[in-house]
Each structure stands twice: as structure tokens, then as C-alpha cells.
């Protein structure tokens, strides 16, 4: 027994040694092997529920890579999937050690541009793939007019409503304007719904909920000239309207302390009439037992929004190992084939290409998101002040419901414009 254990340990140790030896022989980018094949190293974030889950990133990428390698015999792709919490740190370590991957898929690209580590978009994307990208999304991948970040997947927001509760309250259609929204909320309240409108303005994602409401009144965090305009008249009016809803008991109570996660759970439990959500909330609602819900464009002051809040993730190519041609083939394969669609299906993420949107357009629940996507609005995340402003928004913007909106928004504006 002991002998066997000893044997197993020895085998394990030597295997580990051999593997580390192999690892240190080949640099991260991969050399041309004896048979002339090239290995691309790719690092990707995990959109699934961890390495053991059915929807793990490893499984997803293995499927994509197997297909790609079958079609391109000379190129191998070695994918390392890292979870969202660690990916930034691990990639930073790789870059510091000079072990950069050839391809990286994660939430931000801008940090690598300054150091000249990335290929320009034109160098690694064929013209037809480039032309297929949603212009507005590709625009955010540019630094000083030159594209480095390639849009990978995106997400957007729309209004979810509980059809059963709407029937019970006698509401025929989802509201399109603020007045209709208030009227619908009043009917829901009269029908015994405790939270007619789910309004999460707590720290988890107050910046998203507020932004959606600002958009409904033509406002936002910045004005058309790119100046911070958090306490603009339009935004103050928006919060004054919300204040009215809250004081009439038509929303989640004390929205400044409520988080998206909890309000979505209440919606899934059938206690909330309407709530703003994204494609990623569909599985949450369905898991919670709510099947009969509809999705509509978000109501604005005088009409439904023709835009939405967009969030996008990126893929980028590092230039250190000079694998431009092979990377281009892989990207063309990814965006041109079924892979991009597969990622949308698996993770309820939205495509970033025109052809991808077309392929999904038959899905009734995704339709409002897809329609709003080409015209999406983004956080001003390229502004260096954004992270500080964002922290402040998350903590304090919800208190504009109890206090004077002008004062609360003014305090945030002050943070944004301070030196």
C-alpha cells in the first residue's frame, strides 16, 4: 500500500517536473514547431459559472478551437481561461514578465495601448470583418483615432414587465412615456402589487439605473460637448420625477438602499410589476419561476428610448510574437463563423456585429435589446475621472430621492470637475 502510494507520488512529481520543463522551453507566444505549425496563446475571461460548470469558458473555447484547428491545420490555439476576479492581475504579471499572450479577451484594452503592446485593429482584422462591426462599438475601441480594442460581446438594457400583473391591473401595453409609466404603476398599486416599479438605486449599480432615467429626459453624465453635466436641469428634473414616484409608494421602498440583485429577485418572485434589466437577467427571472414576462424599450419622458445603456467587452492582439497573419485567420473565423453566435446563445450576451444581430433577430425577448444596440450609449469610462465619479454615484445618488436632487447631483458634479 505504502509502496504504491510512493510510486504514485514519484510519477506525479516527475510528471510535474517534465511539464514545467516543457513550459519553460517554449516562450509564451509559441515557436514554430518542427512541422511548421504555429501555436497561438490566448487568454480569455470566463463568462460561465467556473471551471466545473456545464457552461465553463474552457468547454466553450475548446469547441471553438477544435473547429478552428480542423479548418486551419497549420495553426494551434492554446486557450487559458481565467475568472473575472483574477484576470487583470494575472495578465499584468504576464506582461511584466514578458510572457504576453498573442490574443487577450477581457473587459478593458486601454491599459496596453500606451506601452505599444497591441496590434492596430486594421492589422489583425480583415476588411470584411471590420466592416461588419457596429460602428458605435468599434469607435470606443479607438485611442486617439486609432483602433486597438476589438469589440467582443456586449450587453444592453430594456424594460421588463410582468404580463400576469399587467393583466390583473388591466394594463394593455407597456408604458412608453413617464406619464404612462406613472399611470400603469398606479393601476398596479391598486391591484395590490407592493412594488409597481423596481428601482434599485443602491450601491451595486446605481450608476446604470440613474443613467437610464437620465437618458429618458435627454440628459446623461456628460453633455453633447463632452463636459460633465451631472447636475444639469434635465437630470434634476429626472430625479424630481422619481422622487414623486417614490413618495407615492409606486416603487421599491427607499430605493437608495436597494440593490439590483434583490430587486431582480423580487421581480422573479412576482412582487414587482416593471424593472429595468438586461439579457443577463432573463435566466435569473426564469430560474426564479417567472415565465410570463415581456420586454420593451425603456420609457422616456415623452417617448420610448431610442438608445440604451451599452456595456462591451474586448478582444485584442499583442504584437510581441509577430503572429499577425495567424491571429487574423482566427479572428475572421471567430466573427465569420458560428462561434460569435454560440457565445451569445450560451451566455445571453449580445453580438457586436451587424450579421450577429441579424442572426438573433428572431428571438422575441432579445429583440428590444438588439434594436437599441446599434445606437447604444456608454458610460464616459474613457474619462480618467470616471472611476472616482462612479464611486460617488454608487454611494450617494440614491439619496437624491430623500434630499434635494439639485444638491446631491451638484455634490457629484463637484467631484467630477474637481482637479
Amino acid at each position: 500500500m505504502n509502496k504504491r502510494l510512493f510510486g504514485a507520488v514519484t510519477v506525479g512529481l516527475s510528471a510535474a517536473l517534465v511539464m514545467t520543463a516543457c513550459g519553460s522551453e517554449s516562450p509564451a507566444g509559441g515557436e514554430k514547431a518542427a512541422d511548421g505549425s504555429v501555436t497561438l496563446k490566448m487568454v480569455a475571461a470566463d463568462y460561465g459559472d467556473g471551471p466545473t460548470a456545464e457552461n465553463s469558458g474552457e468547454k466553450f473555447w475548446k469547441g471553438v478551437v477544435d473547429e478552428f484547428q480542423a479548418a486551419n491545420p497549420g495553426i494551434k490555439v492554446d486557450v487559458q481561461v481565467i475568472n473575472w476576479n483574477d484576470i487583470d492581475k494575472q495578465v499584468a504579471t504576464m506582461v511584466q514578465n514578458g510572457q504576453v499572450p498573442d490574443i487577450l479577451q477581457t473587459g478593458d484594452y486601454s491599459g496596453f495601448v500606451k506601452d505599444g503592446l497591441l496590434y492596430k485593429t486594421d492589422e489583425v482584422l480583415s476588411p470584411q470583418t471590420s466592416a461588419d462591426m457596429l460602428e458605435k462599438f468599434a469607435e470606443f475601441g479607438k485611442v486617439d483615432g486609432v483602433g486597438y480594442g476589438i469589440p467582443f460581446v456586449s450587453s444592453a438594457r430594456a424594460l421588463f414587465y410582468n404580463k400576469d400583473l399587467f393583466d390583473k391591473a388591466g394594463i394593455a401595453e407597456p408604458p412608453k412615456t413617464w406619464d404612462e409609466l406613472k399611470a400603469a404603476a398606479e393601476k398596479l398599486k391598486a391591484a395590490g402589487v407592493s412594488q409597481p416599479f423596481g428601482l434599485p438605486l443602491g450601491n451595486e449599480e446605481a450608476q446604470a439605473e440613474s443613467f437610464l432615467w437620465f437618458m429618458g429626459n435627454g440628459g446623461g453624465y456628460k453633455d453633447a460637448t463632452g463636459q460633465w453635466a451631472i447636475d444639469s436641469d434635465a437630470n434634476v428634473e429626472t430625479f424630481t420625477y422619481l422622487k414623486g414616484l417614490v413618495s407615492d409608494g409606486l416603487t421599491t421602498p427607499n430605493p437608495g438602499t436597494k440593490n439590483r440583485k434583490d430587486v431582480w429577485a423580487d421581480f422573479a418572485a412576482g412582487k414587482v410589476g416593471m424593472v429595468n434589466g438586461g439579457p443577463m437577467s432573463i435566466p435569473i427571472f426564469e430560474k426564479g419561476g417567472l415565465k410570463n414576462f415581456g420586454v420593451a424599450p425603456i420609457a422616456g419622458k415623452s417617448g420610448p428610448l431610442d438608445t440604451t445603456l451599452g456595456v462591451e467587452d474586448w478582444i485584442m492582439a499583442f504584437n510581441k510574437n509577430g503572429r499577425k497573419e495567424e491571429i487574423k485567420k482566427f479572428f475572421d473565423f471567430f466573427y465569420g463563423g458560428t462561434a460569435a453566435q454560440k457565445i451569445s446563445d450560451t451566455y445571453k450576451l449580445l453580438p457586436v456585429t451587424k450579421s450577429g444581430i441579424e442572426k438573433l433577430s428572431s428571438d422575441e425577448k432579445l429583440k428590444p435589446f438588439l434594436e437599441a444596440l446599434p445606437n447604444a450609449t456608454f458610460y464616459p469610462f474613457q474619462d480618467p475621472k470616471w472611476s472616482e465619479v462612479n464611486t460617488q454615484i454608487k454611494q450617494t445618488i440614491g439619496s437624491a430621492i430623500d434630499a434635494d436632487p439639485k444638491a446631491v447631483l451638484g455634490a457629484i458634479q463637484k467631484v467630477a470637475t474637481a482637479n
Partner: protein, 301 residues
């Protein structure tokens, strides 16, 4: 007489160091060093990713003191400490007295008292948050059933949603988790009081109240001082209860200085370090005041 420095003498003088050395190193690395770094950081300009961008003079402090919520946060921290520690000590005195009596099931009752101490504070706080959920909270459902609460899901069923009702609940939970330690510290103090002083008091015909006031409390003072002091520091730096239950929201209206410091860390690490230094100073000041007031050095007469 002049002492000559022979190797033997030096060795003998250094001898104790071998025993206390490890402790000194440990204190130096774990306690002193972080304090030094904290004070240093409060004068630096540090990027959001932790990269030092050079010195910042006293700008971090200027910015901190100019925060519109700063004074409110500091006053709230003081009220928080005084309320939690005060209530805890008073209740613990009673509980310790109770558990010092012989009664059937005392062993069980003593065990039960440990429970809130054994559970993680964060877990306790989250459970209370759930019990106070406006839609499905257990406490709210009970209040609804007995008719105190008209409807679930509204603002009335949401005590954690605004500061005036959230603070008492936060204090309640903080007292709940502080009780076991304080009670046990006092219980130990009570059992250390020799029984002959009580007999003497009885012979002199002292009343129950008089005995408690003139004998029990003075003899309990060392235990009481230690228990209260540890509580003061603990409660001042308490983070998980408020963080889990209200996140300091709405706005900063339920935030204490520790919460404020943590939120600042998300936007400005230098300013957050300045808040830590202020916090550290406050704990020291509170401790000194407390020790002065409790006259811990003077002998019991």
C-alpha cells in the same frame, strides 16, 4: 563601581532578547510597520491601481476635511460607539449577575449565550438584513401578522431603508454580537470576588442594592474596564455589520468612519489612508479619555 564590558556580561545582558526577540519582531512587523506605512501613504498621491505617483503634501487631509459628509460621519461614529458600548455594558452587568446565580438549566443558558459570539459577525448581520427584508423578512412578516404593520413591501416594512430607523437596528445587532464577550468577561470578574466580603456585608446588615453598589461594582472594576475598553476599540472599528446591512446608505447617512474610509479607498487611496490615520488617532484619544475617566490605575478602596 565601573563595570567592564566583558563578552560574558554582554551575552548575559543580551540573554533576555533571545526570549522576547521573536515577540518584538512580530509586533514590529505586524503592528508597527503597517502603522508607519499607513501614515506614509496618507501623504502620498496614489493611483487607483495602487501605483505611487509621488508626494501629495497634506492635500489628502485637506480633501478629507472638506468632504461634505466628513463631520456627520465623525459625529455618527462617536454616537455609535457610545450607544453600542453603553447598552452592551449595562445589559451585560445584568446578564452576568443572572448567570452567576445557581438555577436549573444554567449550563444550557450559558452555552446559549455564546451562540452569537460563535457565529461570524458578517453572517449575523446578513441574517438580520434578511429578517428585515420588506417583502419576505421574518420580522416584518411577524409584525404584519400581529397587525403592527399594515402591508409588506412598502416603506413601513423597510426599517433599514432610512437612517432614523436603520441606526437603532444597527446598534441592536452590534449589541447582540458584543454581549457574549462582555458578559463572560464580567462573569469571570464576578466569580473572582471572594465570598467573605459578601458575608461581612451581610453581617453589617447591608441591603442588596447597597451590597451591589459598594462591593460588587468596585470589585468588578478591573474586569469592567477591560471589557468596556476592548468593546470601544472593537465597535469603533466595526465594519461588517453596517457594511452588510446598509452599506452606509442612503448616501452616507448610516456610515461610520470605518465605512467611509473603505468607500474612499475605491476612489482615492491617499485620502482613504488619511481617513485611517484620523481613525487611528480617534481610537487612541477615546482610549485615553476612557482610561482617565475610569481611573484604572487607582487602587480599589
Amino acid at each position: 563601581m565601573q563595570q567592564t564590558l566583558t563578552p560574558v556580561r554582554v551575552m548575559r545582558a543580551l540573554g533576555p532578547l533571545a526570549w522576547i526577540g521573536p515577540a518584538i519582531v512580530l509586533i514590529g512587523v505586524v503592528v508597527v510597520w503597517p502603522v508607519v506605512v499607513m501614515i506614509q501613504s496618507s501623504f502620498l498621491k496614489i493611483s487607483r491601481f495602487g501605483v505611487v505617483q509621488g508626494t501629495n503634501g497634506t492635500d489628502n487631509y485637506t480633501k478629507l476635511f472638506a468632504e461634505p459628509d466628513f463631520s456627520g460621519v465623525m459625529v455618527r461614529s462617536l454616537v455609535w460607539v457610545v450607544a453600542v458600548v453603553g447598552i452592551t455594558v449595562v445589559l451585560s452587568l445584568g446578564l452576568a449577575q443572572l448567570f452567576n446565580q445557581r438555577f436549573p438549566g444554567r449550563r444550557f443558558a450559558r452555552w446559549a449565550l455564546i451562540a452569537p459570539w460563535a457565529a461570524s459577525v458578517l453572517m449575523t448581520a446578513i441574517i438580520f438584513k434578511w429578517m428585515l427584508d420588506p417583502e419576505v423578512g421574518l420580522i416584518n412578516m411577524i409584525l404584519h401578522k400581529v397587525g403592527v404593520l399594515d402591508a409588506l413591501g412598502g416603506a413601513d416594512a423597510d426599517p433599514l431603508g432610512n437612517a432614523s430607523t436603520a441606526m437603532p437596528w444597527l446598534v441592536f445587532v452590534a449589541v447582540f454580537v458584543s454581549l457574549p464577550f462582555t458578559t463572560y468577561a464580567l462573569l469571570a470578574g464576578l466569580s473572582a470576588i471572594p465570598s467573605d466580603v459578601y458575608e461581612a456585608a451581610k453581617m453589617d446588615g447591608a441591603s442588596k442594592m447597597r451590597t451591589y453598589w459598594s462591593i460588587t461594582l468596585p470589585l468588578l472594576r478591573p474586569a469592567l474596564t477591560v471589557a468596556a475598553l476592548i468593546n470601544v476599540m472593537n465597535v469603533f472599528n466595526s465594519f461588517p455589520i453596517i457594511w452588510a446591512m446598509t452599506h452606509g446608505q442612503p448616501g452616507y447617512s448610516t456610515a461610520t468612519s470605518t465605512i467611509f474610509m473603505y468607500i474612499l479607498k475605491g476612489s482615492d487611496i491617499g485620502e482613504s489612508a488619511a481617513m485611517s490615520v484620523v481613525n487611528f488617532g480617534m481610537v487612541i484619544i477615546l482610549t485615553v479619555i476612557f482610561l482617565k475617566v475610569s481611573k484604572w490605575r487607582t487602587e480599589v478602596r
